[in-house]
């Protein structure tokens, strides 16, 4: 659109035609205050704080609802404007309590800021304030009615943004109130967006209320450890007896790929870290019972036993199970440790999506994967399988926002009537398990049409409708195609070849956990090394890692079989729970020496010979690759004393085995100085020093426990990971090209076992999160609300 020129406070500015005056002002650094205006939501014009004087208009105008026009002359800070805003603040404060000293929002309250900027020291109002005690609307949402200034942001973000419509406005005029959908409580997705967006302290968080003040915490922007979307969550951290306690999760730092968005898990489900069942000392099985022991004892025992098994029975008698929630550095190190030190290719993890098949199918087709940001901007989105509203809340938010603000076309092919169909311009219900057939049909295989046209399915399409839908999808350009674990192996190949016939189509493969993609790319497979390099062609890695076993290792079910046959002498489980999650029979493992690194005594840990208490992703540094392939920095926020990151434990076990750890972790190559950034009061705060150090090639990397040292190797060795380190350290997400393995891969789609977590569950972490459990228990029989 052409630009228009206008004058604001005597300054000539240009802005695209059609843009709002408040945004035009903001773009040149002139702040126009507002409460009800929020970028991306519908306009309200309720608070009247953004009034400005526009020449030739008789009265003051609201900058949030006025579009710029050519030659407009605006004054944003005249005496008249200031007087009007002062009067507005006085009105808003007419019923607002003076409880800032105890209010959660105190210190980060927009009304407080405005009262300082414009407020009158005295009020003309002598009426008694209309009081109402605060109400609990759900386990995580509290409402303090007198604090509400009726900006309606919460109502709009819940309805327009989340498509939940759980908040409304009742009554009229001064007696207007915000009301929840179930009279006195909420029945909703519990995302807490209403709390984050509230400019005052009217909506407060059940997890955080009355605990501390904003300025008494350190704020660490790190990546959420729950689903695979990779939202940035800002953790508020405070010192406590056990180390550093996480008191709050919110979205203060809006620089992440999630912009304004966070779901219940990212916002509240950090509390597993302080669960009373958290392991804080190593356990060794003595006389059949797990008994507390020292770290030295534990490492010595593990080192000794692993070495014995390796030297006596060979590496193939050892199995290694990795995690979907450990960092890339840990996964890479585990993969390297297994192959180079344990001499085994028996490496696997809980597979939730077929990333290797996507890598193989995309061989020779660079630039074909979409980032999470693309889902927000693409003109069209095709969603096959999965239920993003529950399993990938950020993707669902991106899609909804894209449809709402940019009129993107959404096509949904699913076996269930998922909620996102409400945003779809074309949707098709398929019989359960027929997603792959739909893909083949899209690709031109009309013989499958009969299987798709199932009259039994309510909402299914007719033959003609299917053909029309295909035509529409084929006509879309620059489309993002997201698919769930319903598509595996050759189905992905078929989808990729269909996508290649479209102009600019890009793919997203949806896996379930925070670093599923990273676990895949770091080679936690029996047949694949980091970067999906087949073990048979390990030459490149052999140069880096030393002599490696060449034969394909055992997958997890095969390891279980080997254990049954008495051939698996040792099993090393890092942050995974195969007994609990993958239904592995615990008695099968009774003859093997089992080592488990975990936060809790999971079903797998209870049968282990040694259990090591692990730190979680909120307590360590490293990188995560989200399900789209966006690489982001994970920053240490909390700390529980006497737990160790998996990284350190792997290195210590290697050391105890007599391995030279400098060959495992290339540490000590940087400048030998500790700049004090990794601990103490400054830890986690925008790590300016680290950025500076990196820019000058001066990263310390002093110890073998520094994951940044192995990141060097990952960036050098793993295809696709060679991205800007400065950008990474600055907290930016960077989209990775999926590694080109080019191999014909072993296809074992039956090994993929989707977690099927929803908004209120999150594997082991969910089981130990009080908040998620309380919400879950609180849920009444769910019913979907009408779309607006």
């Amino acid at each position: 659109m052409p630009d228009v020129t206008l004058t604001v406070d005597g300054k000539k500015i240009t802005a695209p035609a059609g843009s709002l005056l408040i945004e035009a002002c903001k773009s040149v650094g002139i702040e126009v205050p507002s409460f009800c205006y929020y970028p991306g939501l519908s306009l309200q014009g309720a608070c009247r704080m953004c009034v400005v004087k526009i020449e030739k208009m008789p009265k003051l105008q609201t900058a949030c609802t006025t579009t710029v026009t050519e030659g407009m002359i605006v004054a944003t800070d005249s005496d008249e404007v200031r007087q009007a805003r002062k009067a507005m603040v006085e009105l808003l404060l007419g019923n607002h309590p003076l409880d800032c000293p105890v209010c959660d929002a105190g210190g980060e309250c927009e009304l407080q800021d405005m009262a300082f900027s414009y407020g009158a020291p005295e009020s003309k109002y002598t009426e008694a304030k209309n009081h109402r005690e605060e109400q609990q609307w759900s386990p995580v949402v509290y409402f303090d009615r007198p604090r509400c200034i009726l900006c309606y942001r919460c109502v709009r973000v819940c309805g327009e943004g989340m498509d939940v419509w759980a908040l409304g406005v009742q009554n009229r005029g001064v007696s207007s109130i915000i009301a929840p959908n179930q009279n006195d409580h909420l029945d909703c997705e519990e995302c807490g967006m209403c709390i984050d967006i509230c400019p005052v302290g009217a909506l407060t968080s059940g997890a955080y209320r009355y605990k501390t003040r904003p300025w008494e915490m350190n704020h660490v922007g790190t990546i959420c450890t729950h689903c695979g979307d990779g939202c940035k969550t800002t953790l508020g951290v405070r010192c406590c007896d056990a180390g550093a306690e996480i008191v709050r999760g919110d979205n203060r730092d809006k620089s992440g790929i999630n912009n304004d968005f966070l779901c219940i898990k990212g916002r509240y489900a950090f509390d597993f870290a302080h669960h009373k069942d958290r392991l804080t000392e190593p356990l060794i099985r003595k006389n059949g019972k797990l008994t507390p022991a020292t770290w030295e004892e534990a490492f010595e025992l593990i080192g000794k036993r692993f070495r014995e098994v390796r030297d006596h029975d060979g590496g193939s008698a050892i199995g290694v199970v990795g995690s979907n929630r450990t960092t890339n550095e840990e996964n890479y190190l585990l993969s390297k440790f297994a192959r180079a030190v344990l001499k085994t290719n028996n490496v696997d993890h809980h597979r939730t999506a077929d990333f290797p098949a996507l890598a193989a199918a995309l061989h020779g087709k660079p630039g074909k994967t979409a980032s999470m940001r693309d889902a927000l901007n693409a003109p069209a989105i095709l969603l096959i399988g999965n239920d993003p509203t529950n399993q990938h809340p950020l993707l669902a938010w991106q899609i909804r926002t894209n449809v709402r603000l940019r009129r993107a076309k959404l096509y949904v092919i699913n076996a269930a009537p998922i909620k996102l169909r409400r945003q779809a311009s074309g949707s098709a219900l398929v019989p359960a398990g027929a997603e792959a057939k739909a893909v083949a049909f899209l690709g031109g295989d009309d013989s499958l049409l009969d299987a798709l046209v199932d009259s039994q399915v309510a909402g299914g399409l007719t033959r003609e409708a299917w053909i029309a839908l295909r035509e529409r999808i084929r006509g879309e350009q620059n489309m993002v195609i997201a698919f769930g674990s319903e598509l595996r192996g050759h189905d992905i190949e078929r989808l990729v070849s269909f996508a290649s016939t479209l102009t600019g189509a890009k793919l997203i493969c949806l896996g379930d956990y925070a670093n599923s993609r990273g676990a895949s790319e770091m080679g936690l497979y029996p047949d694949l090394l980091p970067g999906y390099e087949p073990v048979a062609r390990a030459d490149r890695f052999q140069k880096e890692w030393g002599k490696l076993p060449r034969e394909t290792g055992l997958s997890l079910p095969e390891m279980v079989e080997a254990a049954k046959a008495g051939k698996l002498k040792a099993l090393y489980v890092v942050g995974s729970n195969p007994v609990g999650r993958l239904k592995v029979d615990p008695f099968v493992l009774s003859k093997s020496f089992v080592v488990v690194q975990d936060m809790f005594l999971t079903e797998t840990a209870t049968i282990a010979d040694v259990v090591l208490p692990a730190a979680n992703a909120y307590e360590k540094t490293g990188t995560y690759t989200n399900t789209c392939g966006d690489l982001q920095l994970v920053k240490k926020a909390g700390e529980i004393s006497n737990t160790k990151p998996d990284f350190e434990m792997i290195v210590r076990i290697a050391d105890a085995m007599g391995c030279d750890v400098s060959g495992l972790v290339p540490f000590g190559s940087g400048t030998h100085s500790d700049m004090g950034q990794t601990r103490g009061a400054q830890s986690g705060e925008a790590d300016r020093h680290a950025v500076w150090l990196e820019a000058h090639n001066l990263e310390p990397k002093m110890t073998p426990f520094d994951p940044m040292a192995i990141l060097d190797e990952i960036q050098r060795v793993v295809a696709g990971y060679d991205v800007s380190r400065v950008n990474l350290l600055a907290g930016n997400d960077q989209h990775l090209e999926i590694a080109e393995s080019g191999a014909s891969l072993i296809q074992q789609p039956e090994l993929i076992d989707p977690a099927n977590d929803d908004l209120f569950s999150s594997g082991t972490l969910g089981r130990y999160s009080k908040t998620l459990n309380s919400v879950f228990e609180n849920k009444s029989a769910e019913s979907e609300v009408a779309a607006d």
């Binding site: 419509w165 759980a166 908040l167 409304g168 406005v169 009742q170 009554n171 009229r172 009301a179 929840p180 959908n181 009537p417 769910e782 019913s783 979907e784 609300v785 009408a786 779309a787 607006d788």
Partner: protein
């Protein structure tokens, strides 16, 4: 899951005819909400939970949205009123001509206060803002009928008349 589509309640044929016709007046279904609420209230006596659920479903709205609208308009009510809803205006013109005294008189006579209902369920009383009858102040409205230039005596007569009508 979508809420089960079985009908929660039955309205009269007259209501259904009006409702169907009303839908043709507006480009979107939800726009028919306010008149529909008024018809339903006249028929059922109050906008009960069942009515709210039914209308929300018919108009593709959430129950919350329907409640929002009901709470906005003072002539819509979720609680049953008496057979005759006596609305006495005390806005400026009526106030100057004795509206407040008239209201006090009604309170005494009926033995109920603002928004109260008599025990026999015959009368409800409400103090209302301008009903547009300033030229004939003080005025009151009983259901949809206007009564003007009222005095206490006239009001007594009126209430007696309604009482007779209501108990016949």
């Amino acid at each position: 899951m979508i809420v089960d589509t079985q009908n929660f309640m039955k309205f009269s044929d007259e209501f259904e005819a009006r409702f169907t016709e009303m839908l043709t007046h507006y480009p979107t279904r939800r726009s028919a909400l306010v008149p529909t609420l008024l018809y339903a209230q006249d028929e059922v006596g109050a906008l009960t939970d069942e009515v709210i659920a039914e209308l929300a479903q018919r108009l593709d709205l959430t129950e919350l949205e329907v409640r929002n609208v009901i709470s906005y308009y003072s002539m819509l009510t979720t609680k049953p009123r008496g057979k005759y809803n006596v609305q006495v205006c005390t806005n400026i013109a009526c106030m100057l001509r004795g509206g407040e005294e008239l209201l006090d008189h009604c309170k005494k006579k009926l033995g109920i206060g603002h928004k109260g209902t008599t025990e026999d369920g015959l009368f409800s009383l409400e103090e209302v803002e301008c009903i547009g009858a300033c030229s004939w102040a003080p005025a009151a409205q009983v259901n949809y009928d206007f009564h003007e230039n009222l005095t206490n005596a006239k009001m007594d007569e009126l209430l007696d008349e309604y009482k007779k009508k209501g108990t016949q």
